[in-house]
Structures are given as structure tokens and as C-alpha cells.
């Protein structure tokens, strides 16, 4: 089967891979670029564990083909911290115990970051609806919501 | 003698009794004696039971000690999720 050469940018670095047209962006990130931070929880866009941004837009990487990544800017959980410095969301997730098993965490962090870039001061309801596509089975969401709200406050410069 | 309390479904394997007096100084010994007295209970013990001794539940502890004063119950074996 003939493969297609794709050149893209992942977390600011140029990346290239060969893929079959039917391979998803998630497959390509995980199996070809060995960036396994994005997870496959469902493969049908229902769980959000594979969330990444493409040209700044939050998407499920399981619902996008690898070939569609040509020329795009992809960011993943692996690009969230700046060097050794965690993003405030990452720090707050640890502080608030906002994860148990942690497998949904990369997707939730990527999705939350996308929200705060668009809306730095979301209400609890706005946040819950924004994250409705990110399933978490461990936490009951309570501590996740608290962590994101707290990170948002910190990023706005408000005292925690 | 140590008294073993059976759950009600075991009565049909123990001549209708729900308590059986047995000899032994460990859980293993009293279970062996129980099966000796009521062989019909053999498959039950073989399939696995938990034993409670004075309120402490011993899932699989044939070595555990029992005394004549011990309160002993046979229990279904537990699992967890």
C-alpha cells in the first residue's frame, strides 16, 4: 500500500512521517513519532483522551487523518510545559489531586488550556460544558474543575 | 470442642444443623474435622470459604489458631473490585 509523506510541526519542531491515508493523526503521533502522551480511549471522538490542537484549534486526534496534518501546527501534552517549568494547569492538577489514574489527564489539560486561551475567566458551568467531551471515570470531575478554576485565577493574576 | 456456625444453606449437608462441634486447634484442623463429621460439606470447603474467628475474617488461613472459646463462622469467600 502506498504511503504518503507528511511534513508537519509538532510542539514547534518540524516532524515528518510516512502514513497510509487511513491512519489517524493519533496513530501517527503515537506510533510514528512515538509521542504517546495523547491516548486512545475510544477512537470515536467520545472521550477526549486524544485531544491536541491543530493550528490552535482543539480537536480529537482520533478524528483526523495523519495526512491532514500536512503543513499544520500541532501541539500536544508533550509541548505544554516550557522546559522544566510546568504550565499552571499542570501544577494545579498535581496540587489539587485532580487525577487518579491519569490517563484522561493529558487530554483534559490540553482542552483546559484551549479554553483558558479563549476565555480566561470561565464560569464553572462554562468549564463543565467545555470539558464535556473529556471523560474521566476516576474523579467525578470535582477536583478537575477546582484545579482548572484555580489555575485560571492564578493566570489572571488573582490570588489563589 | 470448637463450635462452627454454618450458613443456612449448608444445613442440608450437615443433617439440618446450623452449628457443629468439632475438634482442632487451627482453622485447618477444625475444617478437616467438620468434613470428617459431615462429608457432604467436602465440596463446600474445597470450593473455598472464608472463616471468621472472633470477628476477624480469615479468607485463607488454615494455620490460624482457634480456641474452645472462639466464635467461628463459615462465610462466603469475598472478592473485591
Amino acid at each position: 500500500m502506498s504511503k504518503i509523506h507528511v511534513t508537519t510541526t509538532v510542539n514547534g519542531d518540524e516532524a515528518e512521517f510516512l502514513c497510509e491515508p487511513r491512519e489517524t493523526l493519533l496513530d501517527c503521533l503515537r506510533d510514528k513519532l512515538h509521542m504517546t502522551g495523547a491516548k486512545e480511549g475510544c477512537g470515536t471522538g467520545d472521550c477526549g483522551a486524544c485531544s491536541v490542537t491543530v493550528d490552535g484549534r482543539l480537536v480529537c486526534s482520533c478524528l483526523m487523518l495523519g495526512v491532514e496534518a500536512e503543513g499544520k501546527e500541532i501541539t500536544t501534552i508533550e509541548g505544554m510545559a516550557e522546559g522544566d517549568t510546568l504550565h499552571p494547569l499542570q501544577r494545579k492538577f498535581i496540587e489539587h489531586a485532580a487525577l487518579q489514574c491519569g490517563v484522561c489527564t493529558p487530554g483534559i489539560l490540553v482542552a483546559s488550556k484551549a479554553l483558558l486561551e479563549k476565555n480566561p475567566d470561565p464560569s464553572e458551568e462554562e468549564l463543565r460544558y467545555w470539558l464535556a467531551g473529556n471523560l474521566c471515570r476516576c474523579t467525578g470531575y470535582d477536583k478537575i474543575i477546582r484545579a482548572v478554576m484555580d489555575a485560571a485565577a492564578e493566570m489572571r493574576g488573582e490570588a489563589a | 470442642m470448637v463450635e462452627i456456625n454454618l450458613w443456612s444453606g449448608l444445613r442440608r449437608f450437615a443433617d439440618g444443623k446450623d452449628r457443629v462441634e468439632v475438634e482442632g486447634k487451627t482453622v485447618g484442623e477444625i475444617l478437616d474435622d467438620l468434613v470428617r463429621i459431615h462429608p457432604g460439606l467436602g465440596p463446600v470447603i474445597k470450593a473455598g470459604v472464608a472463616v471468621s474467628v472472633d470477628g476477624e475474617i480469615l479468607p485463607n488461613a488454615r494455620h490460624a489458631a482457634v480456641t474452645e472459646d472462639s466464635e467461628v463462622f463459615l462465610l462466603q469467600r469475598l472478592r473485591g473490585g
Binding site: R22, E23, D27, R30, M35, T36, K39, E40, G41, C42, G43, T44, D46, T76, I77, M80, L86, R91, F93, I94, A97, L99, Q100, C101, G102, V103, C104, L109, L127, R128, A132, L135, C136, R137, C138, T139, G140, Y141, D142, K143, I144, I145 | W7, S8, G9, P43, V44, A47, S52, D54, G55, E56, I57, P59, L75, Q76, L78, R79, G80, G81
Partner: protein, 749 residues
């Protein structure tokens, strides 16, 4: 040198430091089951039956094997014969023999050089089936004329005259029911049902197995218990246990569903057939839902009697459960715990374990308890209403406490049901005002907990820091709990402890992280192993000082002379002793091996407020409160997390989650779109109160807290809906169509 007398002056226990694996898990670095990649790796895909019940006439893999890149195809013929009992059940479930027993049952598997080729090849495996009549409902499966799924599967317990699909029978209880019901002023009888639900962990099962022609193998797998995986895989393959070494990956949720094997032995068999190349198998979500182990569905009849003061005089329950095509529905636990919250003299349970054409059930958080709680706590709620007694008050009048004889036999030690009820009553949520179409529900729940086989090891490093090795995978922050307990025991900083989850080659046998046992049992093991280390550290100090070890105490991370020698020598810190240990007798470590039996159950009480849309039957959860006894909360944040997670799963079970089968026995909703677990916008904040009635069977008083939390939500939601609408919903899930239908019938009635 001992820790005797340590009660409330904890320095570490009860604090909430960052979890040790936090950084890995927020950066995407943590490696889960599917995240492994090794050179030469093949990909495996399982071929599954589309039929609920079918004889396998022929399997032809010719076309699959002809596909370029395909390295092996296996069927049941590649596995040993002659297994018995549980081992046979596991083997048969991993790979069907003569018959496919449920939609999704594995019938073959392929390994190829890429995932895509393996998937293509799986489609080319030609299986000829003779489709047989099927049954998926528990009540139907017990009826005369129901298709017999496997004759001879019943064990000794089943009385004559029952359908062959009834494979186990339970009859437990005590007292005199007739007398008890005669003493009652109010007797209520009602029938209830619950649907099967799935654990719904977000990480699908994944493993990588490698086995050479010498029969030696390695496995990487996401599991709650890798020794279980080792034992079961070895049994299925007919090899010695120690030929396998199993390493657990990080695990993306389990809730009981990752305590057994499904495709793990297949990866090893494929590897062996493919010349020893490692084979990775990752399930899809639909495979997870169709082919792993959901919990049982239940059909139940409850009869309870009470005096007008609300004292329970008698209780009888009949519980029919199907756990798929194999024995094992958790009706054994149900018949122990159904009425266990209460002090009841006359109590009886009947249980039926029934096989059907559904996947083999696996444990799911407090297996067997939530269904019974739904039936019993709903009945009690109705009786409280009828008698005009507050729902918390009626539970307080019957609640078990220290010294109460349990409904299953032995007496309880110190337990926290009364305390949980009192705390719920005192919480602001219990008196929050309710608006139109809103209602409040209360329910209590119990899980007995578990000790289990446990090995742990604690080693002192050259610089005095401590390595703890345990065998229970960290599924929700247990590394943090172990580190806190070790730090507390040694009197050192939390940061100076590193906790490893060891593979099967590094420790003795461990049961999985299940039964709410990890913090209890591995924690106890960690403390005991630390105490052994401390004894050795004190000995080194005593030797150095030339005094008797009995005259040395361990305080704040250092050995100190005591008694007549007190003050004679400067304390020797753990770091100072460690720095010299090579020359003072060698490395220092401590171990614990045992099956601790001092576990003690955890009771909880939940209070939920709902609003029902009277025109659509939609339920909105407005407020939720979890109160539960933790014995002693080691890391309170993660204790709360267990409470909240259990509540959320219970809410899902109560309202929307269910296995939906068609007439053809096929699962209709094997996708998260239609298997509806709660999403963030479905839930409110989940308030928590941690009650602490210390467990005397743990050095720090710990009770396992993981499972109890899923038990009260089912009846609590039902009771809240009753409070809001007057409707007693007796079947789960309480979906909008069911509630709207009941509302209309109520309006017409």
C-alpha cells in the same frame, strides 16, 4: 524502637503532598499499557464472534496467512486441553472452544507487522458458525425452555429441579423470619432490577507479550494485579508460573475490571507462534465493552418488616444475577452484605448465579453490593415514608455498631455507620431548601474490604533515603499513601521516600489492587517492613555505641540512646547510619510477607438532591454529599477522590448506564456515545466528609475506602426521585423515558 502508642501525633499522615508520579502524569511521560514500543514488535488483533451463541463449525485462516506481513494466526487448537474449574473458564473465555458463548467472544487471533495489516488479516479469517438460540436476561435464562448454555456447569450448591443455567445457589441467614414478620407493624414487599454496567475505565486493555520456544516469557500489561495475570496466563498456556515475568504499566483505571486476563495469554501464544517476536495487543473501545467483564445484572425481591418505631424485625431477599456465560456473578457477596448495614435478628437471603449469553462478568467496585443496596435501601426509604420517620433517623435506629452481630454471622468491631449518619444529618446539604420538582434522597452503603496476599520491601539507600517496593499497581494515588506511611514510620521527609511498583520478578506474590486493599494491605506491609528496617538501624546504632539494642529508641529519623543511657550519645540519623552501613554489616532492608486479616469494612452515607423535569423525565443532580468512614485518611485528597469517583460511577449506574442487548443477543451500545457515563456537565461538585473511626487492625487505623462509595448512589438517587415525584422507580437505569412513563401513569392513576 516500636511505634507503639502512636495515635494522633502524626507528622505526615493526614497531609496532602504532591503525588510522586504527578509530574509524569501531567506531562504525558507516564507509560500506560498501549504506550510501549519495542524493536521487532508485532501487532495482534483478535477475531470475535458476531453471534451471541453459536457452534464454531470451522475456522479457515488461509487467506489471512497469505496476506503479506501476517506472522501468526491462533485458535483454541493452539492451547492445551484438560484444564479444569476456574482455569478452564478463563481459557474458554480468552478463546472460544466448541462454541462462541457471547457477542464478542474471541475465536481466533492474528499477529502482523503492523496494526493495519493485523486488522485486515482478522477480517480475512473465515469462521463458519452454526447459530444457536440465545438468552441474555437473567429471569428468562432461569425459565423452563431457555437455551442451555452449558450443561453441567452447576456446582454442588444447586438443588435439584432448577434450570441448568442456574450454576450456583446461595441460602444464608439466621433467626426466625415468621416470628420477625409477626412482630412487624409494617411489612413491605417489592421487586427490583438493575442492568449490567461496565467499569468504563478510560484506558482500553493493552499488553505486550513475548514468549520464545523455551516457554519463557515476558509481559508488559496494564493491570490491577500482575501476579494474577502471571498465574492466569500460565494456566491458560499450560506453563509454569515462574516462566513468565510480568511488568505492570501505569494503569488507566480498572475498578475491578483489570483483575483478570482477556487477551494477555493470546499475545504470548501469538508471540510463540511467530518465533518469539513480541506481540502487542490493544483493545478498541467496542472490544472493551463487548468482550471484557462488565458487572452482573440483577433481579431481586425484598420483603422487610418494621415496628411502627422503625425497628427492623425481619428481612428477606431473593437475588437473581447473571454474570455472563460463566459462573461468577457476585451473588455470593450480595447474599452476605444485602442487609449488613442493620442490626436484624431475623434475616434470610436466597441467591441464584445464572449463566447467559453475555460476556463473563468481572469485579466492579464493591461487586454485588450496589444492586442489593438499591433494593434494600429503596425499601427502607418507602417504609420510613410510610411510618413518617426521617430517613437518617430510621437508619440510626437500626445501624450496626461495635459489638452488633452482623447479618452474616460474626460481630462487628468498631465501625463508622452511626458516625456517617450523624455527620450527614449535621451537613448543610441535609437542610438546604428544595424547590418545585426537587427532592432529596438518602442511602447508606457498606463494603467489607479485603487483606489478601501481600509482599513489600523497604530498603535504605546509602544516603539514608528510602525505597519502598510494593506489588499493588498505583491506580489512584497509592504511591503517595505508601510514601506518607513510610515517611511517618521512619520519621523522615516525604520527599526522601521513593515508591516503586515492582514487577513479578522483584517481590513475592501480591494480590491486585482490589478489594479496597492497597492502602490497607500494602500500607500495612510498608509499615511493617519499615519497622524491620528501624530495628536493624537501631541495632547498628547500639553496636556503635556499645549498648544493648533495647536501650535504643527511634525518633524523628534517628536512633537515640534511652533509659539509663539517655543523652550519653548524640543521635545517629538514618543518613549517618546508612552512610556507614556497608562497613557495619551491609545493606539494610526490611520485608513483609503475609495475608493481613485486620481489614475492616467502611460504611458510608450519601445525600443527593435532584430536580426532575416533569415534561421530559430528565433528572438533574443538584447537590451531592458523600460521608464515609476512612478509619484514618492517609492522604485526605485521594480519599476524597475515591469518595467522589465512587459517587459519580454510582450516579451513572443509577441514571443512564446499561448494557442494551437486541433479540439477537448482540450488544447494541458498544461505544461511549451510547454507553453513557457521566460527563463533566452532568454532575455538580461532590461534597465530602471524611469520618475517622480508626481500624484497630492497621497500625495507623486505615480502612480501605475505594469501593463503598459506589453502593449508596443507586438507592440515594431512587429515593431522591421518589421525594421529588412520589414515584418509586424499581428498575435501573432510571432513564428519562422510564421516569416520564411512570409520571404519566401516576397522572392517569
Amino acid at each position: 524502637m516500636a511505634l507503639d502508642g502512636k495515635t494522633s501525633d502524626y507528622k505526615q499522615i493526614g497531609t496532602t503532598p504532591d503525588r510522586p508520579d504527578g509530574l509524569d502524569k501531567v506531562t504525558g511521560r507516564a507509560r500506560y499499557g498501549a504506550d510501549i514500543h519495542v524493536p521487532g514488535m508485532l501487532h495482534g488483533v483478535v477475531v470475535r464472534s458476531p453471534h451471541a451463541h453459536a457452534r464454531i463449525v470451522k475456522i479457515d485462516a488461509t487467506k489471512a496467512l497469505a496476506l503479506k506481513g501476517v506472522k501468526a494466526v491462533i485458535t483454541r487448537a493452539d492451547f492445551p486441553e484438560g484444564l479444569e474449574g476456574e482455569d478452564w473458564d478463563i481459557q474458554e473465555n480468552c478463546m472460544a472452544g466448541e462454541k462462541a458463548l457471547y457477542d464478542g467472544h474471541a475465536v481466533a487471533a492474528v499477529a502482523a507487522t503492523s496494526q493495519l495489516i493485523a486488522r485486515d488479516a482478522a477480517k480475512l479469517v473465515e469462521v463458519t458458525y452454526e447459530v444457536l438460540p440465545c438468552v441474555t436476561n437473567v429471569d428468562e435464562a432461569m425459565k423452563e425452555g431457555a437455551p442451555v448454555i452449558r450443561d453441567g456447569a452447576a456446582d454442588y450448591s444447586v438443588p435439584e429441579g432448577l434450570h441448568p443455567n442456574v450454576v450456583r445457589y446461595f441460602d444464608t441467614g439466621r433467626g426466625d423470619l415468621d416470628k420477625g414478620f409477626a412482630e412487624a407493624d409494617l411489612v413491605v414487599e417489592k421487586s427490583y432490577s438493575t442492568e449490567a454496567v461496565h467499569q468504563g475505565y478510560i484506558e482500553p486493555h493493552a499488553c505486550m507479550g513475548q514468549m520464545g520456544s523455551d516457554g519463557r516469557g515476558e509481559m508488559w500489561v496494564c493491570t490491577q494485579g500482575h501476579w494474577f495475570i502471571r498465574r492466569m496466563s500460565a494456566a491458560v498456556l499450560g506453563i509454569e508460573t515462574t516462566k513468565l515475568r510480568v511488568t505492570p504499566s501505569e494503569i488507566g483505571g480498572g475498578f475491578g475490571g483489570k483483575t483478570t486476563v482477556f487477551m494477555e495469554p493470546l499475545s504470548l501464544a501469538l508471540s510463540k507462534k511467530a518465533g518469539g517476536k513480541p506481540v502487542k495487543i490493544v483493545m478498541s473501545r467496542s472490544e472493551v465493552l463487548r468482550s471484557t467483564g462488565p458487572t452482573a445484572s440483577a433481579s431481586m425481591d425484598i420483603k422487610m418488616g418494621m415496628t411502627k418505631d422503625g425497628k427492623i424485625t425481619a428481612a428477606h431477599g431473593t437475588f437473581r444475577m447473571q454474570g455472563g456465560a460463566f459462573p461468577g456473578a457476585p451473588v455470593d457477596v450480595t447474599t452476605m452484605l444485602a442487609f449488613a448495614n442493620y442490626d436484624i435478628e431475623n434475616v434470610h437471603h436466597i441467591g441464584y448465579d445464572v449463566i447467559t449469553n453475555r460476556p463473563r462478568q468481572a469485579a466492579y467496585r464493591a461487586p454485588g453490593a450496589p444492586m442489593a443496596a438499591f433494593a434494600v435501601e429503596s425499601t427502607i426509604d418507602d417504609m420510613a415514608r410510610e411510618l413518617g420517620i426521617d430517613p437518617i433517623e430510621i437508619r440510626l435506629r437500626n445501624a450496626v455498631k461495635d459489638g452488633t452481630r452482623s447479618t452474616f454471622g460474626p460481630k462487628f468491631g468498631p465501625v463508622g455507620l452511626v458516625e456517617s449518619l450523624e455527620a450527614a444529618k449535621a451537613h448543610a446539604n441535609y437542610s438546604a431548601p428544595l424547590g418545585p420538582n426537587q427532592g432529596r434522597g438518602v442511602a447508606s452503603g457498606y463494603w467489607m474490604n479485603w487483606g489478601g496476599e501481600t509482599s513489600a520491601s523497604v530498603a535504605i539507600s546509602e544516603d539514608g533515603s528510602v525505597t519502598v517496593s510494593v506489588g499493588t499497581p498505583d491506580i489512584g494515588g497509592s504511591r503517595a499513601s505508601m510514601a506518607l506511611m513510610a515517611a511517618e514510620a521512619f520519621g523522615i521527609a516525604y520527599e526522601d521516600v521513593r515508591v516503586n511498583i515492582s514487577d513479578t520478578g522483584a517481590l513475592g506474590v501480591n494480590e491486585p489492587t482490589h478489594g479496597s486493599r492497597a492502602t490497607y494491605a500494602s500500607g500495612l506491609a510498608t509499615i511493617k517492613a519499615a519497622e524491620e528496617c528501624i530495628g536493624k538501624l537501631c541495632q547498628r546504632a547500639a553496636d556503635k555505641w556499645g549498648i544493648d539494642v533495647d536501650a535504643v529508641v527511634w525518633e524523628d529519623g534517628a536512633a537515640k540512646p534511652s533509659g539509663p543511657n539517655a543523652g550519653d550519645h548524640d543521635p545517629l540519623t538514618i543518613g549517618e547510619i546508612a552512610a556507614e552501613m556497608g562497613g557495619t554489616g551491609g545493606p539494610i532492608s526490611g520485608h513483609y510477607e503475609g495475608s493481613p486479616t485486620g481489614f475492616s469494612g467502611s460504611f458510608g452515607t450519601h445525600v443527593v438532591d435532584v430536580e426532575i423535569d416533569p415534561e421530559t423525565g430528565h433528572t438533574t443532580v443538584l447537590r451531592y454529599l458523600v460521608v464515609q468512614d476512612a478509619g484514618k485518611a492517609i492522604h485526605p485528597d485521594y480519599v476524597e477522590g475515591q469518595f467522589q469517583g465512587g459517587a459519580a460511577q454510582g450516579i451513572g449506574w443509577a441514571l443512564n448506564e446499561e448494557y442494551i442487548y437486541g433479540e439477537d443477543g448482540r450488544l447494541q451500545n458498544p461505544i461511549f456515545l451510547d454507553y453513557r457515563i457521566p460527563v463533566a456537565s452532568d454532575l455538580p461538585m461532590i461534597d465530602t466528609v471524611i469520618v475517622e473511626v480508626p481500624n484497630p487492625g492497621h497500625p495507623y487505623g486505615v480502612r480501605g475506602v475505594g469501593e463503598t462509595g459506589i453502593t449508596p448512589p443507586l438507592p440515594a438517587l431512587a429515593n431522591a426521585i421518589r421525594s421529588a415525584t412520589g414515584l418509586r422507580m424499581t428498575g435501573l437505569p432510571m432513564t428519562p423515558p422510564k421516569i416520564l412513563k411512570a409520571l404519566k401513569e401516576q397522572g392517569n392513576g
